[in-house]
């Protein structure tokens, strides 16, 4: 059966080798109920224009690579379907980041901010060296302890929350929703002992205090992990740390 229904995709193009500024290019893409934005991009690249650049990998909302702006809203290409839009679709690279080429964003800042909050389990362990006889023990965790951080643990590093966050757009030094959520996720983990190492980053003006609870980050998060809540719980933690700091020499 022939696909007859087509949709117009307007895509922002930018080639650093010869363009001074980005421009827009339209493509007609056949679609049905199951055609995602990523499917449409792959169709364009394979059948219409092999020069189109974009990132993708898993096609199932796990890898977080295919982030683009669809009609001005940050979306995962694989989780967004053409059927959801009545008119044309405007695809642009993620807002607030620099564009490398076409729909490919420069995620360097994002990765630096993630790294700054040490998003991994930190243990203050010396016992292994002093008592070589004892085997390393697994770190047990009760369901209740797991529930404390679990809702903040499913981040796929897609960067949609940064494209939704005007504070990151206004101040690229702001650590941003995903990094601050990850910090909160590890600070709440009963196996972690690294909170003291993370707090100085959160306490700064580019840490949790760069946030004004716009809240759009939580709206666009494809994993629904409410980064705005995590960042603002971080404010409570930082304020507590501030008060404790007053009584410490």
């Amino acid at each position: 059966m022939e696909k007859t229904v087509e949709k117009t995709l307007v895509i922002q193009r930018y080639n650093p080798e010869h363009d001074q500024t980005p421009s827009q290019q339209s493509y007609q893409v056949p679609f049905d109920n199951s055609t995602s934005v990523l499917d449409a991009l792959l169709y364009i690249q394979q059948s219409l224009d092999p020069s189109l650049a974009f990132r993708w990998s898993c096609r199932m909302a796990i890898c977080g690579s295919c982030s683009v702006m669809v009609n001005g809203i940050p979306k995962l290409g694989c989780k967004t379907f053409l059927r959801e839009y009545s008119g044309d679709l405007l695809l642009e690279p993620l807002a607030h980041f620099a564009t490398e080429k076409d729909l490919v964003s420069d995620m360097t800042l994002f990765l630096q901010h993630l790294q700054a909050v040490k998003p991994y389990l930190i243990r203050q362990e010396q016992s292994a060296a002093t008592t070589p006889a004892s085997k390393p023990q697994p770190h047990k965790q009760t369901p209740k302890q797991l529930a404390k951080y679990r809702k903040f643990s499913s981040c796929i590093n897609c960067g949609l929350c940064y494209a939704a966050c005007p504070q990151f757009g206004l101040n690229p030094e702001f650590l941003g929703p995903a990094a601050l959520t990850l910090a909160q996720r590890y600070n709440l983990d009963s196996r972690d002992q690294g909170k003291a190492e993370r707090m100085p980053q959160l306490n700064g003006k580019n840490g949790v205090w760069g946030c004004t609870f716009v809240g759009f980050c939580s709206d666009v998060c494809p994993k629904h992990l409410d980064p705005a809540a995590a960042v603002n719980q971080g404010k409570v933690a930082s304020a507590t740390d501030f008060v404790i700091g007053l009584f410490k020499p």
């Binding site: 650093p16 980041f97 420069d106 005007p166 757009g169 206004l170 716009v214 809540a229 719980q233």
Partner: protein, 129 residues
Amino acid sequence: MSEQHPPRRPYHTPLTGSWWLKHRYYRLYMLREATVLPLLFFCGCLIAGFYSLQQGETSWLNWLSFMAQPWVMALNALTLAASLFHAKTFFELFPRVMPLLPAPLMIAGQWLATLAVATLLLLLLGGLL
């Protein structure tokens, strides 16, 4: 190692001051932030009220008639609308910042507090207390 790559030239447009006009979500955010503008007016009214109260009875009566001027009442009606919009957003954010109880319970509890204060003031100024 020998392959020559063209130099990177990322393109970046910084945000302009009008970024918040682009989406409904951002406009609602700005509306929430702007609720403090009429609030400032009402705070000014109350400071004037405290001033006139310590000045004497004539001054106090002048303040009461100032509060009854149509433009003052119109601005204060706007402030009431702003305070209720602020309350709605604030009450919904609170359980996300401090998740102490189930969110609907916390939101209802906060509205109850607002209602209790209004009822108390109504009874007091209605001469019923």
